[in-house]
Structure formats: C-alpha cells, structure tokens
C-alpha cells in the first residue's frame, strides 16, 4: 500500500516535469539573492515574502481550478477591489469585522455564481463573460466609493495582516490553511475529480450522471469566496478601502498559475505548481527590492521570468508530445 498518497503524488508530478520551469527559476533566484544581498535569507525577510505573496496566492489557488476546468476568470482583481471597498465601509459602520465579512462573502459568492451562470447557461466563453463582469465589478467599486478611499478601519482588523499567532505572522497561517484546503478539495474529494473532468472531458462528466454546469458554477463561486477572504487580508494590509486597490491582480494570478505548469487545455495542472509560481514572483520582487535594482529593470525582470519559465515547460512539452 502506498505510504502517503500525496507525497508520492508530489514526487510523481515533479518527475513528470509539470512545473520544472518555475521550480528551477525559484531555486536559481533564491541562490542568486542569497549571494547578492546579505539580508535576503534573514527570517523577517522570508516572512515578508510569504506575507506579501499571500493575497496573490489566495487568488491563484481558485484560478488554478478555473484554468483546470478550461475556463478563465478576469474579474477576480476587480471583484477583490469591490470586496475591499465594501468590506471597509461596512466594518466602519458595524465597528466589528464578522457581520461585514459575512455580507461581503455573500456578495462575492453571488458574483462568482453570476459568472458561472453567464458561462454555463448563456454559453458565453469564460474570457468574454469575466471580461464583462470585470467592468461591472470595477464600475461597482467606483460607484460605491465615488472614487474616494474609505478610511477609519478599527485597528483590530489589522491583526489579520500584521498580527501573529504562535510566533508566525497571520497571513502565513492563512496561506497554509488555504493551500491545505485546496489540496484536499482537489485531490481528496470527488468534487476535485469532477473539476479536472470538466476540463478534460466534459461529456464524460455528464454521462457519469454529474451536472457539469453545477461543477462549473461551483468553481466560480469558490473563486468569489476566495476574493472575499483575500479582501479581509487586503483591507487589513492597507487599513482602508481603495477603489483601484487590486485592479490587474487577476493577470498576475493567471501568470503564476501558468508559471506553475497548469496548461490552458485538457485539465492538465498541478496545485503546488501554482504555489511555486506565486513564490517565484514574490522572491523576484523582494530580491530586486533588496538589491535596490532600478524599478525599470524590476518591471522587465517580471516579464522575463514568466517567459523563461514557460519556455522551459514549452520545450519539455515539445520533447514528449
């Protein structure tokens, strides 16, 4: 009998070279920065990297499932921004987090449900549907705040970003829990298989008696829920609501997922590859900051990282297909 299914899975995925590009680059970057900037490997800096990457990770995890089911979600960044401003306004009104978070959770889940509905029932390609809802969420954020940022967040909300528990920063725990939940959901629940089947062979799913539309909608609802959770972290981080806080973050999430080896077709992908992809981007940005590299070079470096990683995976695919 296998000892631990997930560890064997982990190694098997690595052997299959699912995200060699990203893992290689992550390794090279870490070595490079350890050498070139002395305090890269210092504990506070490593915690910084994890804290800074957590919000992107919370978007990249559901994005992996969406891309695995041969979809895409361009509305995540705008939805996170909308959730941020609504959460900030409600927290100020209620004075306490939980009721506000609940309402935002419902709002985001509804938004995800709408995305899923437009795609499955109106038969609109995911790119088009979520490009449309991106505009709707972005407009919503502007309308709610009339362009002003929302201030006066009670300090205990900041705990979620800068607070600590058992010695580790809160975002670290949130990231760990999120990865664990998604790993279990994807590899240890029937639903996980159904999501992969949705991307791999949708007909097989329907003939197996599963409502493919519901699986699709549930993936987008999950994406909405994760936006709500990320909003708590973002609001805690900038202690306010801002009408353009996270616009464009969906593209970074998609890049991280692609970096991690999840391909755009046939439900081929690996959750932990995405985690590596997110970390690779986080390490790059942090390292370049520490080395005081001029911002123009930082901007180009991110583009080069993405293309290099995909080149490695692209060439590997070429060999074995």
């Amino acid at each position: 009998m296998r000892v631990a299914d997930s560890s064997a899975g982990f190694i098997r995925q690595l052997q299959k070279g699912n995200s060699v590009g990203a893992s290689l680059l992550l390794l090279v970057l870490c070595l490079l920065f350890t050498v070139f900037s002395e305090n890269f490997t210092s504990a506070p800096n490593l915690i910084n990297i994890v804290k800074q990457s957590t919000i992107l990770l919370l978007l990249a995890l559901p994005m992996t499932l969406i891309i695995l089911s041969e979809g895409i979600d361009l509305s995540m960044g705008a939805l996170l921004t909308l959730a941020n401003v609504v959460l900030a306004s409600l927290v100020i009104k209620f004075g306490v987090l939980w009721p506000a978070f609940l309402l935002v959770l419902i709002l985001c889940a509804f938004f995800g449900w709408a995305n899923g509905l437009i795609i499955s029932k109106l038969h609109i390609p995911p790119f088009v549907a979520t490009l449309g809802t991106l505009g709707i969420a972005q407009g919503g954020a502007l309308l709610v705040t009339d362009g002003q940022s929302v201030v006066g967040i009670p300090p205990e909300i900041l705990y979620f970003y800068s607070g600590e528990w058992m010695g580790m920063a809160m975002p670290f725990w949130i990231a760990i829990v999120a990865c664990a939940v998604f790993h279990v959901l994807l590899s240890h629940t029937p639903w996980g298989n159904h999501v992969i089947a949705l991307g791999g062979n949708r007909e097989a799913l329907t003939l197996a008696g599963i409502k493919a539309d519901w699986v699709l909608i549930s993936v987008y609802v999950l994406s909405g829920v994760m936006c709500a959770i990320a909003a708590v972290l973002l609001t805690a981080r900038i202690s306010s609501g801002h009408p353009t806080a996270a616009l464009g973050m969906e593209f970074d999430a998609i890049a991280a997922v692609a970096l991690g080896g999840t391909s755009f077709e046939k439900g081929k992908g690996w959750l932990w590859g995405t985690v590596i992809g997110v970390l690779a981007v986080g390490v790059l940005r942090n390292g370049l900051n520490l080395m005081g590299v001029p911002s123009a070079v930082q901007v180009a470096a991110i583009g080069i990282l993405v293309i290099l990683a995909l080149m490695v995976d692209g060439l590997r695919d070429k060999q074995n297909d």
Binding site: G139, L143, F264, I304, I307
Partner: protein, 329 residues
Amino acid sequence: MTDHSAPSSNVQQVSGWSALPNSVRVTLLRLIALALIVLTLSLTSEAFLTSNNVLNVLRQTALLFLLASGLTIVILTAGLDLSVGANIGLSACLAATIIKSTGSISLALLAGMGSGFLIGLINGGLIAFLRIPPFIATYGMLWILHGVTYWFMGGETIHGFPADFRAIGSGYLWGIPIPVFLMLAFLLVGMIFLQRTRWGQDIYSVGANREAARLSGIPVNSRLVLAYVMSGLMAGLASLIFLARLNSAEGDIGEAMTLPAIAAVLIGGTSLFGGVGTITGTLIGALILTLVLNGMNLLSINASWQPLVTGVIVIAAVYFDNLSNKGDK
C-alpha cells in the same frame, strides 16, 4: 469569410434569417444595435448630432480601431496580444526621441513602425516557435516593454512636436480629422488582407484548425508570426497618431487602451476560438463602444458607470451572436 453573393448549385433555399451566411448575420446584428444607440443618443442629448460631436466621436473611434484592427487578426488565429498597450508606449517614446533629436518626421515614422514590427516579431517568435501560450507570452512582453520604456524615458515626458507631424493626429483634411482617413486606410488594408489575399485566407484556416492547416501545407508558424507582426505594426502606426494627437510622449501612453481594444474586437463578433470574425465587425465594435462612452459624457453620467456599461455590452454582444447562430444548429 468568402463572399456570399455567388450562385450555388443544388440549393434548397432555406429562407429567412438562418439562410444568411454567418458573417452577414454578425454584421447586420451590429448595424441594428448601432442604429439603436445613435437613435437613443440623438433623442436624449441635443449636443449629440452636432457635426462637432460626430467628428469628435469619429476621431476617438479611429484611435481605438487602429489598435483593435491589428488585434482582430491575432484573435482570428485563436491567439491574443496583451502587449499592444505597452507597444504603443515604447513606439511613441522612440518616435518622440527621434523627432526631438533629428527633427525628421519620416525617420520618426519609420522608428515607430519599426519598433512595432520588432515587438510583433518577438511575440510571434515566442508563440509560434517556443510554443508559449499567447496569453502568457504577450503578458510577459507587456512587462518587458514597460521596463524598457521606463528605463529609456526615465520618467521624463517629451513634448512639443512640429505642426505638420501633429497634423496626422489632430489636423483636418476637408473638414474631417485625419485619423479618420487613417482608420479607413487600416480598414481597407485589413479587409483586403483578410478577404483578398491568400495569406488572409490562411489566417482563417490556422485559426479554425491549426493541425488541418499544417497538413494542408500552410506554414503555420510563419502565418502566426505574420499575424503578430501585423498587430505590432498597426500598434506602432497607431502610436504615431497617439503621439501626434497628444503632442507629448510618456511611458504609459497606450496602457489604458488594451482592454477596450479587446472589448471592441469581441463586440465586433470576432470569436476568441479563432476562424470567425471580420475587420468591419471590429470597426462597428469600436464605434459602438466609443458612442456609448461619448453619450455618457454628454449626458454627464458619472464616469464610474463607464467600465460597468462596457462590461455589459461585451456580454450582450456575444449573447446575441449565440442566439442568432442557434438557428444553424
């Protein structure tokens, strides 16, 4: 889409809407939508139908269309080009520097188009030969181009260009803004390329079924590179018009145009899965988008509504396409 007027042999005429070939249906549907928008706007705001505003709308549409026309060709190959906005930024800054240093406009035009061409070539190479998915390759290029522009410009802006250069952006010819002539030129070039050249036909074939095209002897890789080069070239040309229009160059000059350009192509009926779509559709898409935003400005509707309305239009356009195609199944 080939022409649709020729006689056909053993034809059982299925009359009515579903008899029309798909491309005609797509265009007709949009012309109706366009007419509706013009009607409602001219009724609700008296400033709408003034000649000034019409020219104003045409000029703004021209800017959007110049970008979207190159994109249409790329999307027809089932690809995508997220780097067009950054392409405009870099090409405009290059051209601006050359005008400032050498003062020769022709050299600047060459530089703008040259850099657009080169960016398209790199995009095409990454996608065709290194098999990187278009979304990711052009996303990477977006960042690289921004990096190069920021490094090159260092936060500076270059402003103030000779009058005859600025004419191509804000000048008039027979009372019509010059960018409109360029829009028609791009439209013509696009239509001729897609409908009247074999390379255009190949673009449709590659988009519709890449493997079948390859097995039919179509050099798929070079067609893909051609598509991205055209998109890059058109963005390079558009950057010159932006430069002339704004009379100054700064790093993120075209950045806000990328998503609206993609929206214009989608509203125009070009499918993301490739093989279906026309340049005229994209022109109508650009016109619809600009008209709606212009209308909202005239009716002084809060600017925050604009992204929301754009989103709804994109979804509605594709939904009605699905409805009209239902007849075929």
